[in-house]
């Protein structure tokens, strides 16, 4: 047991807290990309549905969840700020316009479904329906760009890896969205979605390979990391999850397919983290060791996270249990 007085000098229980927080930050990012990812995917799929009733069902499917899902992004920002303040500052100010593009997309995405439900005339719903689609496509695209630039240490916004990763993340959210909707819908809608899922998955795999190739070409400094065993293993894992996704979808094993989509997301984020470590902001020359906050603050935050994150999982379990099963239209308060 660590003595209270030692809280300021040594990490709790002698744990490698800096590395754990590096892992935690990316875990939170992955949770966001997985959970809000299916909301984005549903937004993208919204464009493919003409029927009012089907559109209502898509919105109802994510209605109770998206707000909670989005909080993972808030917590990602908070965790990065709390554990690696200089990274938070450097990274966000360096990608100034991109950050605001992400925020703009999130504003549109968050507002659109709320507005869509306010009025039921055609013009209004067409407009907000489009806004919803645009927000849901651009938010993951910009986030993908941001992540790619973070890894490569690019100082400009538009780079080849950034564009490819952006598209890859969009494709991934569609896979995720399909897997989620196949749990929440029944009938024709569910059957129709099957093909969308395969297409998006195919696109994703191609884009991931292209993204890794482009990083290899553009960033010589990352070549050895790209060919390291953990990263290669994660690429193989991605292929394996894709296989599971297809097999589970064919067998109508909906939960398994959803799990495979989660696997894809976590593998992607792990690849990003693997390429980066032990650096955490290449462009600013910051490593996990140098950027971490002082020991006292680190210990306090670790205690906080250890207590609070399990509770967060309880909240999500309660929420998802309350709304398990297929959606019924016309649900409200």
């Amino acid at each position: 047991m660590t003595e209270p007085a030692a809280l300021a000098t040594e990490p709790l229980f002698g744990l490698p807290l800096a590395d754990l927080w590096f892992g935690l930050v990316f875990f939170i990012l992955a949770m966001f990309l997985f959970l809000d990812g299916f909301d984005f995917g549903v937004g993208a799929l919204f464009a493919t549905r003409e029927d009012d009733d089907e559109r209502e069902r898509l919105l109802a499917a994510i209605g109770p969840f998206w707000d909670g899902n989005e909080v993972w992004l808030v917590v990602f920002g908070g965790a990065l700020f709390a554990a690696f303040p200089s990274v938070y500052a450097n990274l966000f100010s360096r990608h100034y316009l991109l950050m605001f593009a992400i925020l703009g997309a999130l504003i549109v995405r968050g507002l659109a479904p709320e507005m869509y439900e306010q009025r039921h005339d055609d013009g209004w719903q067409r407009w907000w329906g489009r806004a919803f689609v645009v927000g849901s496509l651009t938010a993951p695209f910009f986030l993908g760009m941001f992540t790619a630039n973070w890894v490569t240490g690019a100082t400009s916004i538009v780079t080849l890896p950034a564009l490819i990763v952006g598209l890859a993340v969009v494709a991934l959210t569609v896979v995720d969205g399909v897997a989620f909707l196949r749990l929440k819908t029944r009938g024709d809608l569910r059957d129709d979605l099957e093909m969308d899922g395969y297409r998006a998955l195919g696109a994703y795999l191609v884009l991931v390979v292209a993204a890794l190739g482009s990083v290899y070409a553009v960033e010589p400094a990352l070549r050895s990391a790209l060919l390291s065993a953990p990263v290669l293993a994660l690429v193989l894992a991605t292929l394996a999850f894709a296989g599971v996704y297809v097999a589970a979808t064919r067998a109508d094993r909906y939960y398994a397919a959803f799990g495979a989509a989660a696997g894809l997301v976590f593998a992607l984020v792990a690849i990003v983290a693997g390429l980066m470590y032990p650096s955490i902001d290449r462009a600013a020359g910051l490593t996990v060791e140098t950027a971490i906050v002082s020991t006292l603050q680190l210990n306090l935050m670790s205690v906080g996270a250890a207590v609070l994150l399990p509770l967060v999982f309880v909240y999500f379990a309660v929420l998802y249990t309350a709304f398990s099963g297929p959606i019924e239209t016309g649900e409200s308060y």
Binding site: A8, G77, G78, A82, F92, L106, F323
Partner: protein
């Protein structure tokens, strides 16, 4: 092209001024909603179901807009105030992370159940979700105000260097987090939120009551609006006097911790004793408006009032004048007039509460059309007072972003260009104007549609819904 420092400050001001509206609505509504839900479940009376459902709709839109504007703020510390984030991140990032994990998560997940789940979950879980949402909104205020109050009265830190920057290192978490300003800020802010919502409810209620009783227009659900008016008045009777009393004590704490800010609030330039408090101040020239000096302004003052405020009861007490402080002064005019207006509104709300309470007590609440007009006029004034109070707090702290530790000009992102700052500032001005318009539009629609009634109301009684009732899976 705007200078990046000025642009960042204006942008932060704009985005927080818009954001705070929605937390005020949700924090202020939270206790009402918990109560309405409780009564709805316990009594099954239709009026409580109406109150719960109507105000939940308002809460839900406020929350959505609060979320989208709040995320912007959190990111802005990194994008626009990178130097501040690097320097103060160790103390500032912690509360934000805890806010996310402890408060926003609780609030946003249970909100799903609270808004969409009445038919899906049992009474017990529904009640729990109402409490969780309310608690979440209040806890988020705890953490964000810890962060802000530390900027006003920084404690528990040491200055060190890391990666070539001077940074603030946490040495005493209790002193830092429970800094002297925090309890003042929390009480004043939360009471202000409830007071603002009380005014909002009373104003809306008064509008429909007025239409019905005075203009004799047909108004559906008059009983609902009468009840709304009464709930608003009750809450106002509690919060309005408390806010004024608390504010007076709060001012004394400002004198002790930020004397320069207090001097700006009172526009006292030369150190003096027996300083009057001008409740109503009339600038007699443009110059007095733009560059107020307490000594020169004609006003209705309480002799020794400001001294009394500053010392906690001694009208002879000395107030340090602005001239005694080295370096830059905060923009006195903004701070002075904002403070006057907040205080003026505070007293006005007390008057309203007493007036309304008296009319109610004498059984004429529904007939006094002047009262109705006054209440209608004040519907949004609570929120206005909150904005003014925050302007006093934040502008009065200038030129510091962290009092006596870091100057605002040294907190802005070093790499930020004028073009970038201009682009986002203009973008926000446009987008936020749109947001406010939409929010207003939606709230007006909700109000016009009124509460659910007739067949729309559930005909349930308390015994019908066992707590274990959870929707069936497929």
């Amino acid at each position: 092209m705007i200078d990046p420092v000025l642009g960042s400050r204006l942008q932060f001001a704009l985005t927080t001024i818009v954001h705070i509206i929605f937390p005020v609505m949700s924090m202020g509504l939270a206790p009402f909603l918990v109560y309405f839900t409780w009564k709805d479940i316990r009594t099954g009376e239709p009026i409580y179901e109406q109150l719960r459902r109507f105000w939940t709709r308002i809460f839900a839109v406020s929350f959505v807009v609060g979320t989208v504007t709040g995320i912007v703020l959190e990111f802005e510390f990194g994008t626009n105030f990178a130097a501040f984030s690097t320097t103060a991140g160790e103390l500032f990032g912690g509360p934000l992370a805890l806010e996310g994990m402890m408060a926003f998560m609780l609030e946003a997940t249970f909100l799903g159940i609270f808004v969409f789940g009445r038919e899906r979950v049992g009474n017990a879980l529904y009640m729990v979700s109402a409490v969780a949402v309310g608690l979440g909104t209040w806890l988020s205020a705890v953490w964000i105000l810890i962060a802000n109050s530390w900027m006003q009265t920084p404690r528990g830190y040491e200055l060190t260097t890391a990666n070539g920057h001077t940074i603030v290192e946490l040495v005493d978490p209790v002193a830092a987090y429970a800094n002297p300003r925090f309890p003042w800020m929390f009480v004043h802010m939360q009471n202000a939120a409830v007071e603002s919502v009380a005014l909002f409810m009373a104003g809306l209620g008064a509008y429909f009551v007025f239409r019905h009783h005075v203009w004799e227009y047909p108004v559906e659900n008059v009983a609902f609006w009468e009840t709304t008016l009464k709930f608003g008045l009750i809450a106002l009777l509690v919060t309005a006097p408390l806010q004024v009393l608390h504010g007076d004590l709060y001012a004394r704490h400002i004198v002790e911790t930020q004397p320069q800010k207090f001097a700006a609030m009172e526009a006292v330039w030369e150190t003096d004793s027996y300083v009057p408090e001008y409740i109503v101040a009339f600038p007699t020239s443009l110059n007095q408006l733009l560059d107020p000096r307490a000594k020169e302004i004609f006003g209705i003052g309480i002799p020794g009032g400001a001294s009394w405020l500053a010392s906690g009861g001694d009208p002879q007490a000395t107030i340090q004048g602005l001239e005694e402080f080295e370096g830059k002064q905060p923009p006195v005019a903004i701070v002075f007039w904002s403070f006057r207006m907040m205080v003026g509104l505070g007293f006005w709300f007390v008057l309203l509460a007493v007036w309304g309470g008296y009319r109610w007590w004498s059984g004429e609440l529904l007939e006094d059309d002047l009262l109705h007009k006054a209440l209608m006029l004040s519907t949004l004034l609570g929120i206005v007072a909150v904005e003014l109070g925050w302007i006093v707090t934040e502008v009065g702290r200038q030129p510091w972003v962290v009092q006596d530790v870091l100057r605002t000009t040294d907190g802005v992102s070093p790499g930020l260009t004028a073009a970038e700052a201009t682009a986002t500032l203009v973008g926000f001005a446009v987008v936020y104007l749109g947001l406010l318009t939409l929010y207003t539009y939606v709230v007006v629609r909700i109000v016009r549609a009124g509460p659910p009634d007739g067949d729309d109301l559930a005909t349930r009684d308390a015994s019908e819904r066992p707590a274990s009732e959870v929707s069936a899976d497929d």
